[in-house]
C-alpha cells in the first residue's frame, strides 16, 4: 500500500464530502461486480469475484465426518481465508496472518452465527446425513489474489457464489445398521444436490470518512477511514452479523443509522449479485 500525499488525501476527502469519488461513483454505489463460477474443478464448488481491482476466489469442499456430540443434528462448516503474497509483498510468509484471521473471524461471525448455531446464514441441519453418526463437513476457503479495498464484501459474495455452484454428492445409507455401529455409506458420483442459497446473507461494509459513510471503499479511501462497520444482511432484511473495525469510537446512533443504510444498500446488492451468479452459471454451462 503506497502512501498518499496531503494533497491527495484532501482530494479524496473532498470527493466523499461532495458525493463524487475518484472514479465518479456516488457514496453508496458499488463498483461493477464480475462473477465467474466453477474456476476450481476439483472442488465441489468454487467462484471468483472481481470488484474493481479486488480479486478473490472461494472454494467449497465437502467431506463426510461425524457430527459433534453436543449438536448431533447439525453438520460442520469451517471458513478460512488466506491472503496470497500476490496481493501485496507484505503478505509473504506470516505477514498476512493478521489480516487472514481478522477476515476469517468476521466471515464466521456473519455467516455461521453463534456457538449454538442460532442466526446462521447457512443452515447446518441440511448437512446431516444420519443423525448423530454421519454428517457433511464443509470447508470453505477464501483466497485473496489482489487487494484494492473492501475484501470482506468481495469474500462474502464469492462464498455465496461458490455455495450456489456447490454440488454435494448424494449419499445412500445402508438401511440395516445397529445403533452403535457406523452405517455404511455409498457416495454417488453422478447425482448432486444443490444448496439452497437464497438465505445466505451478503456483507455490506460502510466506511466512515469524515462525516459521511461510503460503500465499497478502494484501498486509498480505506486509508482515510476513521472506522468501518461491516453488516451482513440477508434477503429478508434481517441482520445476521456485525463487525466494527477501526480505532475511532462511534456513537450508538451512528451505528443504528449505518445499519439502516446497509439494509437499504443490500437490497440492490443482493439482486445484482444473484443476477451475476445466475449469468456466471449459465455461461459456465455453455463453455
Amino acid at each position: 500500500m503506497v502512501g498518499l500525499s496531503v494533497g491527495e488525501k484532501h482530494f479524496i476527502q473532498g470527493g466523499i464530502a461532495q458525493d463524487l469519488r475518484s472514479d465518479g461513483r456516488k457514496r453508496l454505489t458499488y463498483r461493477p461486480i464480475y462473477v465467474e463460477t466453477g474456476v476450481i474443478p476439483q472442488a465441489h464448488g468454487s467462484a471468483r469475484v472481481r470488484l474493481g481491482a479486488t480479486d478473490v476466489i472461494a472454494s467449497v469442499k465437502a467431506e463426510l465426518g461425524k457430527p459433534s456430540a453436543l449438536q448431533p443434528d447439525k453438520g460442520k462448516i469451517a471458513i478460512y481465508v488466506d491472503c496470497s503474497p500476490t496481493a501485496a509483498p507484505m503478505f509473504e510468509g506470516r505477514g498476512g496472518e493478521e489480516l487472514s484471521t481478522e477476515l476469517s473471524v468476521a466471515l464466521q461471525r456473519c455467516l455461521l452465527g453463534g456457538k449454538s448455531g442460532a442466526g446462521a446464514g447457512i443452515d447446518p441441519t441440511s448437512l446431516v446425513v444420519v443423525e448423530g453418526k454421519v454428517c457433511w463437513d464443509l470447508y470453505i476457503d477464501g483466497l485473496v489474489i489482489s487487494s484494492d479495498g473492501n475484501l470482506l464484501d468481495a469474500l462474502a459474495a464469492a462464498i455465496k457464489a461458490a455455495l450456489s455452484n456447490t454440488g454435494i454428492p448424494k449419499v445412500d445409507v445402508a438401511a440395516e445398521t445397529r445403533s452403535d455401529e457406523q452405517p455404511e455409506v455409498n457416495i454417488s458420483d453422478e447425482e448432486f444436490l444443490q444448496f439452497d442459497t437464497s438465505g445466505i446473507p451478503v456483507i455490506v461494509t460502510l466506511t466512515k470518512v469524515g462525516r459521511h459513510y461510503i460503500v465499497d471503499a478502494t484501498s486509498e479511501e480505506e486509508s482515510q477511514m476513521s472506522s468501518a462497520v461491516s453488516i451482513s444482511v440477508n434477503r429478508k432484511g434481517h441482520i445476521c452479523g456485525l463487525t466494527k473495525r477501526g480505532g475511532v469510537g462511534l456513537d450508538p446512533s451512528i451505528i443504528l443509522d449505518m445499519i439502516s443504510v446497509a439494509k437499504h444498500v443490500s437490497e440492490q446488492l443482493i439482486n445484482k449479485l444473484d443476477s451475476e451468479i445466475a449469468a456466471a452459471e449459465a455461461s459456465e454451462e455453455e463453455s
Binding site: 494533497g7 463524487l20 469519488r21 465518479g24 456516488k26 461493477p32 476466489i57 496470497s84 500476490t86 489474489i145
Partner: protein, 364 residues
Amino acid sequence: MGGNLIAALGFRVSSSSSLPFFCFTGGVTPKSSLCRVADNKDKMRGLKLPLSQTQRVRLQRAFEKLQSLSAKANSDASVTVADAIPVNYEDAFLKGYGTTDLNGELVATVCGVVERVNKLVYVRALRARYKPEVGDVVVGRVVEVAQKRWRLEINFSQDAVLMLSSMNMPDGIQRRRTALDELNMRSIFEENDIVCAEVRNFQHDGSLQLQARSQKYGKLEKGQLLIIDPYLVRKSKQHFHHLEQFGIDLILGRNGYIWIGEHVEARDSMVIDQAKSIDQSTVVEGINRAYTPLEMRQNICRIANAIRVLTILGFNVDLNLIMETVELSSSLKIDIHDMLGSEFHVLVAEMEAERRSLTTKRKR
C-alpha cells in the same frame, strides 16, 4: 495460486507510426493459457468486462478494423516465449535482451516485439518497467528524504534521485545551498508527496538523476494520480497540458504516472517578497478548508475515467484521444461512473476505429 497472474500479449502492427498497442490481460484460469497468440475469443475474455453477446461482436469488429488499418503487415514482429526469431543466420548479428540460443536457433525468452538496430537483434518486452530517456517528463512520489537529495519512486527498477541543488529555492534566488537549506528540505517536499520533474542524466551505476529547475515542475497538489502502463504514453512535444475550458492541469508522465488536478499558476520566481511568503502559508491553510469545487471535480473525474477506459482498451494515451473520449461521453450524456461500464468501452473502440479509417482515407 501463485505464479504468473498476468499474461500480456501485444499485437504490434507498426513500429514507426503512432498506432496503438493492443494488449490484453488474461487471468490464470483453467481455461486460458499463458502467452498464447491471441485469437479474438481470448481477447474478449481477457478484457475483464462483462460483455453481452452483441457488445462482444461489436468490439471484435472494431478491433479487426483497427488491425486491418495498420500500414504494414508487421505481425511477424511480435513474438511470444520460445518463438523462433526470423533472422538471416548468414549475416553476423548480435543477440540482445530477451533472446537466447536454443539448438542453434535464436529464440525469444519474453513476450514482446522484435527490434533491430543495425546488427543488434533484441526483444522489447511489453509489460516492462519504465525505460527512461534524458529529457523525459516524469511524475514521481517521494519515498525518502536523504542527505541533500530526495529519492522518488517512478516505476523504474531503482528510485530516482532529485538533488537539492537541482531544485529552485522557494524564494527564487540562485545561491549555494547551505546547511540550513538541508535541514529545511522537508518544508519543500515531504514523504509521499507527488513531484513532477525532468530526467537529467544517468549516473554511472545506472540510477537516475532528476531536475526540477523550471517553474512548471514541482509539487503537485489538489488532484489525483493515475497509474497506467508506461508504454501507453508516447514521447510527444508537450507533456503538460492546461485545459482552459475546464481549468485543469493534465500532466502525462512518461513513466505511466498521470496527474490530473486543478490548474496552478506557475509562480514567478523572480519576485522575492516577504509578504508573498506569508500569503503562501495562509494559502496552505486555505487548502485544508476549501475543497475543490464540484464542477471542476466532475471534469477531473471524467478525464480520469476516459484515461482508464483507454488503458483497458490498450490505446495510446495522448491529449487528442482523451479529449475526444471526454467529448463523446458528454455528448451522449453518459454518467461519469457509467463511463467504466462495458457499453462505453465498446463505443470508444468503435469511435477510434472510425476516426482511424477516416484519417487513412484522407491520407490516400
